[in-house]
Point group: C2
Chain length 350, copies 2
Amino acid sequence: MRKTEVITIDRAPSHTPLDATLPALLLSLLVLILALVSPGLLMAQELLPSWNDGKSKQAIVDFVNKVTKAGGADYIAPEDRIAVFDNDGTLWTEQPIYFQFEFIADRIKVLAPEHPEWKEKEPYKSLLAGDLKGVAAAGEKGLVELGMSTHAGMTTDEFAVIVKDWFATARHPKTGKPYDEMTFLPMRELLDYLRANGFKTYIVSGGGVEFMRVITEKAYGIPPEQVIGSTIATQYALVDDVPVLNRLPKIDFIDDGPGKPAGINKFIGRRPVFAAGNSDGDYEMLRWVTSAKPPTFAMIVHHTDASREYAYDRQSAVGKLDKALDEAERRNWLLVDMKNDWKTIYAFDR
Amino acid sequence: MRKTEVITIDRAPSHTPLDATLPALLLSLLVLILALVSPGLLMAQELLPSWNDGKSKQAIVDFVNKVTKAGGADYIAPEDRIAVFDNDGTLWTEQPIYFQFEFIADRIKVLAPEHPEWKEKEPYKSLLAGDLKGVAAAGEKGLVELGMSTHAGMTTDEFAVIVKDWFATARHPKTGKPYDEMTFLPMRELLDYLRANGFKTYIVSGGGVEFMRVITEKAYGIPPEQVIGSTIATQYALVDDVPVLNRLPKIDFIDDGPGKPAGINKFIGRRPVFAAGNSDGDYEMLRWVTSAKPPTFAMIVHHTDASREYAYDRQSAVGKLDKALDEAERRNWLLVDMKNDWKTIYAFDR
């Protein structure tokens, strides 16, 4: 980043007042310049350090270089550099089950004493007994009921506190780490790298938006307004003449599968140029992004690392990757091989 | 940033090439600095130039100074400087009727030849005859039907083109100007001023989000992702194997009245600190914003200028301001008196 000319200023004779102020002035100017160029310097040194050198890393870097090159044929203006990321299985682990389901299970246990009827009522009964097959037997309707019992019936502020407290205490069954540390370091580096190149990074997840927003800033550097997810209806009300928003037991929007392009359109209102996912739930989002005017980029995180994370695709109940895997090559979607492409999985592994 | 060691300034005599480059170097550094600070300089010279000096302008400036003063008791971190603005009647004129209704009326006329049945069917019949009372008699249900006939049944991309074409040709009945020039210059200055002070500015309007997004960047410098409005449901589909989003004749969300806090929570996920509105449709939004932890700021644009714009409040069918007007003083909401507080209304009046 052209720094050569700034070095060693000397040899001015004389004792004018300028002499005294010049060094201070130059110093402050240098500090300013360095503040401006330092992200670039940093990048040159440590570009995507948790990614192994190879086809995947190169494809990402080539795309970013191409679309940020002013005057180039593939240049994309900064305001159009929208990048969307699925969350579960793309930015953090989703096994052995979506973390938000763990939250639901924990909440049901906490709330059970207030609901003696749950002991005899499905799917609560199975869940409290730790029988996930029994829970699954209740189907989608049963899952929605569990979701509403734990996500509705409080204000938005109260819910945020519940979620925050859960993240502070709950631990992943395999690693023993807090769930918000189960993020993939290479993906966090990718988010940083894109942002350093003028991209605006969004999460577009099937997860609940108010569940994710509690931790996305800390976990990914993504502010609440750049998190798109499933929503339940809320209702404005006054409690002791103070406005609150009550969370109602009613689904407002499911941001999954074909819902993802709809969610992107509703919340962002323009077509992203970069998309990352890991399952068939991201298929329509990848199609939507890569069918726009080129250049566009899509990638799929393929879970191939049974020892460091998990290995699964076509047969998995959670994060099934089948159709998108079939079509990745012909649609020119980058298939990231976790085992071979990633040097490190989690920050705590370093 | 530690770069001090790079500058060794001394006083050796001399004719090195550096002597010649130093002035040029300093000049380029100064240009850089000026580029960085010039928004600030500009502001000092022409702060809110279309606002008359007085209580209203002072209240706005005092608030901004207070919350941006690093280390001050009322300091708000840049990421929390969220400002929300109603659109109709707050950022642009809403008389004699909401511009989006004019769009509906024009579209119904364009589409009428394809719908001979409308000649005998209300509220189409009244609308085509220019009988707004007849339209109003059809009530909310009738209005929704008109909305769906004109806003659904096409893809999102097609709708954007229809809206864009309409703005290019339609003219306001009183001024003869394109609707997207009917914006209030003092409010555009306020948006600029807030942004120059690190605020993120949002529109939170009862209007259709995909109607507004076509012009908000040009009209207000507000990008699509910072426009919150009413939405209709969309559905992902493939047309000749190309993904589209079809606009369905089904309301998804009404972003008005108590819907505004819900919309803010859904789309932004944090509490704004600054809100501007003009009607009772903004009442709940103003309550929601100003009931958060201080400092917060709310203002109401009071339409008091019958000659330069319109004068209306409690009795108006469009943009009724009654309850919010009653409570403005005790809730410490700034009541902006358009006639006396604004030097200029529209940019084309200058």
